[in-house]
Every structure is written in structure tokens, then in C-alpha cells.
């Protein structure tokens, strides 16, 4: 009996060891492969090898969290496969909640070639190491310089931008004209307008607060004009001022943001913290509130819910100072990254190149209704075109959390507590500064 047990133990052990050895061998292989890919195809040349000289079948593995963009990728991937018969696209999209898990595991197992990400995907040295440097690829020339700049670090281009997103107030023109209201130009006008709507018994602002980040969007709407309008170098390069504690979140600028957020929160619909974000655009389109402050990415959802009134938009005036209000918020909605260890870099570059072609990119913009980051692209939707004009009148700055430190994304709880009145703006600012300083060990 005893011998049998030993035998079994050794059997299991062998199985486990062999799998470990196999995995080690495997990773060596892929390393070699990636080295070869690195050495064999210097990045500048890779673009030139667009003509299909290798007919070896390639499976191109792409992951994305934009499940909403299914329609575009269904078409585009088929088209891409037809043009590149040796490449089979394995495109995968999961909802945001589980995307991080998917991304981490696929990268770790080197089971992915192209990864959808954003600035967070390249916010630390060990993360940047994962991505191929796209500098010098000819297809980059199609994109606007400032959009590319957002995905550059130490003059290496890590990501290929998809689009630009911003935040606007969508409003119900019917309700506005019934109450004799005009688009506000200043913060004072804006709050007066909110008060009027509220007195008329209509919910002024609809917010899907349950998911948290829609609350953050309100802060992102206010922050650029208030903070960077007052002091354009508030954060300093790579957040240096904030890290050196010469700029604090308890400074008057940020206190103003929190105070104004509190003011706005009194105009949210009742129980706004319980409404799932996904329902907000549809309910707004059904005329349940006068406005909703939301991303430009929700335009499609609002249109799809077929509002029976005309929708207008304006960018929330966060201060009374025209010059400050000129500073607006815009960020890259997402970007492609190519895995540095990918054995299929050539095919991956081809995919990005195809994505960057004007006609494909135009189709992308038309289908997903997002704002283009390429010159000479038009938007079909008149409302989108209008927002685009409004945005281009602004000096766009990126989300202040762009340079990530733990703690620089203030805790959502603070916002919730401010909106329910459980915390004053001063307390929230103090708490945030404290949380930020406490996390110093994690600063990168």
C-alpha cells in the first residue's frame, strides 16, 4: 500500500513538474520568438513590409472592452481578413468590469497581440515595457499630433489613439423653450437656470450615480476650468507639484470644485445614487429630466432611444470667467497597444495600419459616433458635428488623473458623501489629501 502511495505521489509530482518544465520551455520559445521579431523587423521597416510576403497563416488576437462597438468591428474584421487572407482575426470584447482580469491574464500568458487600453495602460515603467514602440510607423501620420502626444512617453509612441471623448450637458430643447431658458454662458447663469427648472417641478440633471464614475464625470466637467483655468501648472510635470505637496487638494481651486459639485448635486434627480448608469441616457431621451451631464460617448444611446424632442448640448460653464471657461476637458477614449512579446507583430501592425486608413477610420467614426482624432474626418450626426464645433472652441486639457498615482484618483465615496450631504466639501478635500499622502509608498 505504502509503495503505491509513493508511486502515486511521484506520478502527480511528475505531472506537475513536467507541466512546469513545459511552461518554462514554452516561455523561452516565446521569448526567442519575440526577440526575433524585435531584431528581425526593426519598427521602421515593419510598416514597409505591408506587402504580404509571408503567406504563413497568422492568428491575430485582439482584446477590447468596447462591447458597444461590436457593429464596427464585425464589419472591419471581416474586411481585414478578406484583404489579408493569411490573417485570421480573433477579436474579443468583454464588459469593462471583467476586462482588467482578461487583459492581465492574456498578457501574462502571452495570448494576445493587440490590446485595447488607455493612458493607464502605460502609466508605469513595467507596464510600458509590455508594449511595442510604434514610433516611426507611417500610419501614425494620419493622426492629430496632440492625440498622439497623449500616448507618448519619453518620445516613444506606445498607443494608437481611437478617438476623443469629452463631457457635455445634453438638454431637452422642449423643456428649455417652455421655460424660456437659454444655454448658460457662466456658472451664475447655469445655477440660476437649474433653480428655475427645479421650481418648475422638473428634475434638472439626470445622473446614473450607482456606477460611481458618472459622478466623477461631473467633477471632470468642472475641474479643467476651475483648477487649470486658475493655475495652468497646478499639477506640475508628472504630478510633481502634487507629489512635492506644493499643490494640495485642499487648495482653494480644488475646494471650489468640490463646492460646485455639491451645488450641482442638489439638482440631481431624487435617489440619483441608485440609478444604474446604463439607464440614464434612455430616461433622458424619454424626457424624464431637463438635462444629463454625460460623455460624448453616450450620444448613440440617446439617439437610439429616439427622443421625441430636439436635443441640444452645451459645455458646462464652470466659472464666471470666460477665459477660464475656455479650458475644456477631453481625453483619448481608448487606444491600441501591440504586445511587445507578440509573435505576430507584423500582422498586428497591418491591423493598426488598416484601422488608420481614412476610409476605415471614417467608417469607425460613423458607426461608433465618437469624435475623430484624424484630420479630414466628418461626422454624420448633426448633433455630433455641433458638439465637435463646441469642443474645438475650447483649449482641451487631459483628465487630471492622467498621470496615475495611487490616491490621485480620489475615492468615489467622497463624492457620494458630498452629494448626500454627509460630508462637507472641506472635509472631502481634507480627506482626499490625507488619503493621497498616506499612499506615498505606492507612488511611482
Amino acid at each position: 500500500m505504502k509503495m503505491k502511495r509513493k508511486k502515486l505521489a511521484s506520478l502527480v509530482l511528475t505531472a506537475m513538474i513536467s507541466s512546469a518544465v513545459l511552461s518554462a520551455c514554452g516561455s523561452n520559445n516565446t521569448n526567442n520568438a519575440s526577440h526575433n521579431a524585435n531584431n528581425g523587423a526593426p519598427t521602421t521597416e515593419a510598416a514597409a513590409t505591408a506587402s504580404p510576403d509571408t503567406k504563413e497563416p497568422v492568428e491575430l488576437r485582439i482584446i477590447n472592452w468596447r462591447v458597444e462597438d461590436k457593429e464596427f468591428f464585425d464589419q472591419f474584421n471581416v474586411k481585414f481578413e478578406q484583404e489579408n487572407p493569411n490573417i485570421k482575426v480573433r477579436y474579443d470584447a468583454t464588459p469593462t468590469q471583467s476586462y482588467q482580469q482578461l487583459k492581465n491574464s492574456r498578457i501574462a500568458a502571452n495570448e494576445v497581440d493587440i490590446v485595447a487600453g488607455d493612458y493607464k495602460t502605460m502609466n508605469s515603467a513595467d507596464q510600458r515595457e509590455l508594449w511595442m514602440d510604434l514610433s516611426g510607423q507611417s500610419f501614425l501620420d494620419n493622426f492629430k499630433q496632440d492625440a498622439l502626444q497623449n500616448l507618448t512617453y519619453d518620445s516613444k509612441q506606445y498607443g494608437l489613439p481611437w478617438n476623443k471623448v469629452s463631457l457635455v450637458a445634453y438638454y431637452n430643447k422642449q423643456i428649455f423653450s417652455d421655460l424660456g431658458l437659454q444655454e448658460p454662458k457662466t456658472w451664475t447663469e447655469f445655477t440660476a437656470l437649474l433653480e428655475k427648472i427645479k421650481t418648475a417641478g422638473i428634475d434638472p440633471i439626470l445622473v446614473g450615480g450607482k456606477d460611481g464614475w458618472p459622478m466623477q464625470q461631473i467633477v471632470h466637467t468642472l475641474e479643467p476650468s476651475v483648477v487649470r483655468g486658475a493655475n495652468s501648472d497646478f499639477y506640475g510635470k508628472d504630478n510633481s507639484n502634487v507629489m512635492a505637496l506644493t499643490s494640495k487638494f485642499t487648495d482653494s481651486e480644488w475646494l471650489e470644485v468640490f463646492t460646485k459639485f455639491q451645488t450641482l448635486s442638489t439638482y440631481f434627480q431624487k435617489n440619483s445614487l441608485g440609478l444604474a448608469y446604463g439607464q440614464a441616457p434612455g430616461l433622458f431621451a424619454q424626457g424624464k429630466a431637463a438635462m444629463t451631464i454625460d460623455g460624448t460617448f453616450s450620444l448613440t444611446q440617446i439617439n437610439d432611444a429616439k427622443p421625441n424632442f430636439e436635443v441640444g448640448t452645451f459645455i458646462v460653464p464652470a466659472t464666471d470667467d470666460e477665459a477660464k471657461n475656455k479650458i475644456g476637458y477631453a481625453k483619448i477614449g481608448g487606444a491600441w497597444f501591440i504586445s511587445n512579446k507578440s509573435p505576430n507583430k507584423e500582422a498586428a501592425l497591418k491591423y493598426l495600419e488598416a484601422f488608420s486608413q481614412k476610409d476605415n477610420y471614417q467608417l469607425y467614426i460613423d458607426t461608433v459616433n465618437q469624435f475623430p482624432v484624424m484630420d479630414g474626418i466628418t461626422m454624420k450626426d448633426p448633433l455630433a458635428e455641433q458638439i465637435n464645433d463646441q469642443l474645438s472652441a475650447k483649449d482641451a486639457v487631459d483628465q487630471f488623473t492622467n498621470i496615475q498615482n495611487s490616491g490621485s484618483t480620489y475615492s468615489l465615496d467622497l463624492l457620494n458623501k458630498v452629494s448626500t450631504g454627509d460630508m462637507s466639501p472641506e472635509e472631502a478635500a481634507k480627506q482626499w489629501q490625507k488619503d493621497y499622502e498616506d499612499s506615498k509608498a505606492n507612488w511611482k
Binding site: 511552461s23 468583454t94 464588459p95 500568458a109 448608469y277
Partner: protein, 274 residues
């Protein structure tokens, strides 16, 4: 039973009906929503659907690639259920009869695995370097293995109920060990195996995270994953989402209705003795 004999039966019925409604209404509500147009839903979410509107089902079916997913779900569920039942029953017999040493330790280990942490990255490596990643057989093995311990645990309890006299009768017969398990024990375990099978069916059919991690190919995904994809895509269109839910739930509910007699008697008698 004496103890509640005095409780008026009407009261018992009222209580049970209330609880049953609590269980049923949410599902009926989803069905109701699935039959509405989006506008109707947004304006009067809870009213009874004014007319039967099947477009949502068509849209959900089409958008969710439900035909491929449906086929995959059937394959995964059927194969891993059969595999699990067979392997678990084989293992349950010697453990229950203490034919090997250290059954106590083994059962303890099994108990611990009820709450062991998952390790996605290590498992992914294993799947990758054994070429099991993104294959039907790999996923079937994974979903059989992932709670094999629990299934063995349940069956061990059942085997204890089978009198050991039978074993002796069989040994006189000179019946081979495996043949004995397969021909004598397995048939006797039928109710128990139905239970384990149902638990496994529920388990595999409803899994939505593992398919994403271990099946990189969209064409190999099961139904619930298709539905999960929907959650993002149609987060603003609850009517289509509700239709998707109905499509995913219906087959499972049918199987349940068909097997419920066994499950309810089985779940109980098995888990107890374990």
C-alpha cells in the same frame, strides 16, 4: 407530522404561496419586460406588456450569436456533466469504503478546496503549454475539474447508503473492481448522480467568467458568455437584455422541471451523509 398538525392548513398555504410568488415574480417580470418595446418600458416599466412584441427576442438571438453559443453550451454542459459524474462516482466508491489509506486526510483536503483561492494566471499557463487553451476538450476538462472535489464529496455520502453486503456478494462473484463500480454501484447511485448532474449542468451552463479566460475564440463560447457580453452592449436597452435572459434561462428551467423530482430528493439525501 404531529407538531404542526394544529397549524391551519390555509395559513400554511398562504405562507407558501407568498414565498413562491417571491421566487417566481422576478422571473415573470423579466419575461414581461422582454415583451415590451423600449419606449413602452421606459415610460411604464412595470405595466403588463400591451401587446406581444417578439422583436427583442429576434434581436437578442441575432446579436448574441446565440445559435453557435447554444450549440457550444450544449456540448460543454453535456460532456463535462457526463465526465464529472463518471469520474466522481469512480472516486467516491473507494473513498467511501476506505479502500485506500488516508481517506480522512483526502476528505479534509476536499473540504479545504471549497474555499481555496483561484489562480487564473497559473492555470492559464498550464492550459497554454498543454495546448488545452481554447479547445473544446480543454474547457470540458477545466469545467469538470474545477469543482470535482465537491462532486466527489457529495457522492461519498451517497455511497455510504449502499449496504456493504452487496460488495461481498460481488466479491464472491469475482467481479472486477471497475466492472463492479460501473455495473453495480453506478446504477444504484442513479438518483445521486442525477443530483450531481443537475448541479453540474447549472454550474457549467451559468459560468460566464471562465469561458472568457480560457476560450479565446469567440466561436467556442457558450451561451451565458454571450449574454454577459450583452450586459455591456445593451446596458441601455433593458428589453433586449431581458429577452436575452429569457433565452438563456429557458432551457435550464426546462431541464430543471424535467429532473426536479430527482434533484429535490437527491440534493437532500446526498449532501447529508457526506
Amino acid at each position: 407530522m404531529k407538531l404542526t398538525a394544529k397549524l391551519p392548513f390555509t395559513l400554511v398555504h398562504v405562507i407558501l404561496i407568498l414565498f413562491s410568488l417571491c421566487m417566481l415574480l422576478p422571473i415573470l417580470m423579466i419575461l414581461n419586460i422582454a415583451l415590451k418595446t423600449n419606449t413602452e418600458f421606459l415610460n411604464s416599466p412595470m405595466s403588463i406588456a400591451s401587446s406581444l412584441h417578439f422583436d427583442n427576442f429576434a434581436e437578442a438571438w441575432e446579436q448574441g450569436d446565440m445559435i453557435t453559443n447554444f450549440k457550444n453550451s450544449l456540448i460543454y454542459t453535456a460532456c463535462s456533466t457526463i465526465l464529472t459524474c463518471l469520474i466522481a462516482a469512480m472516486a467516491a466508491y473507494p473513498i467511501s469504503r476506505k479502500h485506500i489509506r488516508g481517506t480522512g486526510a483526502l476528505l479534509g483536503l476536499i473540504g479545504i478546496t471549497l474555499f481555496l483561492p483561484d489562480g487564473i494566471v497559473p492555470l492559464l499557463f498550464f492550459m497554454k503549454y498543454t495546448a488545452l487553451l481554447n479547445t473544446y476538450s480543454g474547457y470540458i476538462l477545466l469545467s469538470s475539474g474545477i469543482n470535482m472535489a465537491l462532486m466527489v464529496f457529495i457522492l461519498v455520502g451517497f455511497v455510504k447508503n449502499i449496504p456493504a453486503d452487496l460488495d461481498e456478494a460481488a466479491s464472491i462473484d469475482g467481479c472486477g473492481y471497475f466492472r463492479y463500480i460501473l455495473t453495480i454501484i453506478l446504477p444504484l447511485l442513479k438518483p445521486a448522480i442525477t443530483t450531481v448532474a443537475m448541479l453540474k449542468i447549472i454550474n457549467v451552463w451559468n459560468d460566464f467568467i471562465n469561458p472568457y479566460l480560457y476560450l479565446t475564440d469567440k466561436e467556442k463560447r457558450p451561451l451565458t458568455s454571450g449574454l454577459y457580453l450583452f450586459v455591456g452592449e445593451f446596458s441601455t436597452d433593458w428589453t433586449v437584455l431581458a429577452a436575452g435572459i429569457v433565452i438563456v434561462v429557458t432551457p435550464l428551467l426546462l431541464v430543471y422541471l424535467f429532473l426536479q423530482k430527482y434533484i429535490i430528493s437527491g440534493v437532500s439525501s446526498g449532501a447529508l451523509k457526506g
